[in-house]
Symmetry: C2
Subunit: 204 residues, 2 copies
DNA sequence: TCTTTTTTTCTATGACTGTAGAGAATAACG
DNA sequence: CGTTATTCTCTACAGTCATAGAAAAAAAGA
């Protein structure tokens, strides 16, 4: 008699397809981080996930489907972390927490930078992926500007520059930090990225 | 009797190999800008340059040689433009001229952004290309910091933050702007990038 | 155990790629 | 015009890739 699967109501099958998809996405991240996007072939990803060549087909009909899903999931996860970290905060503290979560300050997030760069490259010539980027950036911009407005209301920000411009500047710096960190020699750890953030906040 | 080739002293051949290499690099840029790095096959590049399949071989033994040379040349050209634009300037005016030259403010430089992103992606897993990036960024950082020091000496900058941190921040913003511009919908022109720069300068 | 359904493996296929190199075409020169 | 050196074209090759789909394996249920 099968054990009772609490959550999956409409999925009487042996394999939870949604869960399997996440496993495959995990394997995809690991491969891209280790071998680069060029090394992320269907065979390599399947092997990394513990399967043979054609096993991914039922879960992702094409490679592009898999990659798009994987990239989307990175954004979702980051947004999730941001939500957790900024919960209950506002103004400058919220802005600081937000930025510290996006900056590639540890090994894991440097790996994420090494994954987002191939994504950007694909998005340059792929409208669907560009749209994923655009939506996430619109979300981030809105959050940043909102925090700036809160900070201004509390007197934490007095700079004679409109919040949209300040927010755009900060967002660009956060994106550029991904490049800087991903292309740095392995030895070099941080880049004063944290100091750069504090400097910016202190100027507001 | 052949016309006298003023500059090429040691090149009695019919084709100036160095010049031909630059032609091929030009064709490569155009292809990458139009079709993306994935579409930049040897055949496509050769066709764009007006040649058949194997014609590139004598000038670039391998594709990687061609791409590395092409990317290197983009950096060289940008550095050249920067040198011209900042000549005779110092302090904030020099910093402004420098940044305005790097920011993707017109069609041509948006195309350069669309070329540098594939370069970054390749550099993530290619030590030689990462080194090209590293060297250019070291150059830029030195120039930015020098201009900041001049500005501080002239009393244009009074911010209580060290120049290296301010310079790193500005550089990251300039890099991030490449992403923002390259992935923007074709309709949307600028992004207030110029305003973002002025805002930063006004805060120093 | 036998049947049915689901999952995975394995092999094949067609397309595309960088690269190699023989031969044709072209230009230079006597 | 003929010879030589240079440049380019064209075909071929070996490798890799995503994808397809038949067959095997595994699991579930009676």
């Amino acid at each position: 008699m099968p054990i009772f699967l609490g959550s999956a109501a409409d999925v009487p099958k042996i394999v939870d397809h949604d869960e399997r998809r996440l496993e495959l996405v995990d394997a995809t991240w690991r491969i891209i981080a280790r071998l680069g996007i060029e090394g992320a072939t269907m065979r390599e990803i399947a092997t990394e996930a513990g399967f043979a060549n054609g096993a991914l087909k039922p879960y992702f009909p094409t490679k592009d489907t898999l990659l798009t899903f994987a990239f989307q999931h990175v954004f979702n996860r980051t947004n999730q972390r941001i939500a957790e970290v900024t919960a209950g905060k506002k103004g400058i503290p919220a802005l600081r927490a937000f930025s510290l979560e996006v900056l590639p300050l540890d090994e894991e997030r440097v790996n994420e930078a090494r994954i987002v760069i191939p994504f950007w490259q694909k998005a340059v010539n792929d409208a669907e992926k560009a749209e994923i980027h655009r939506k996430s950036m619109a979300l981030w911009t809105a959050a940043i500007v909102a925090h700036l407005a809160e900070a201004r209301a509390d007197g934490e920000v007095t700079a004679a520059v409109d919040d949209a411009t300040l927010g755009g500047h900060l967002l660009n710096m956060l994106l550029g930090a991904q490049i800087t960190a991903a292309l740095a020699p392995a030895a070099q750890a941080s880049f004063g990225l944290e100091e750069q953030l504090e400097a910016f906040l202190s100027l507001l």
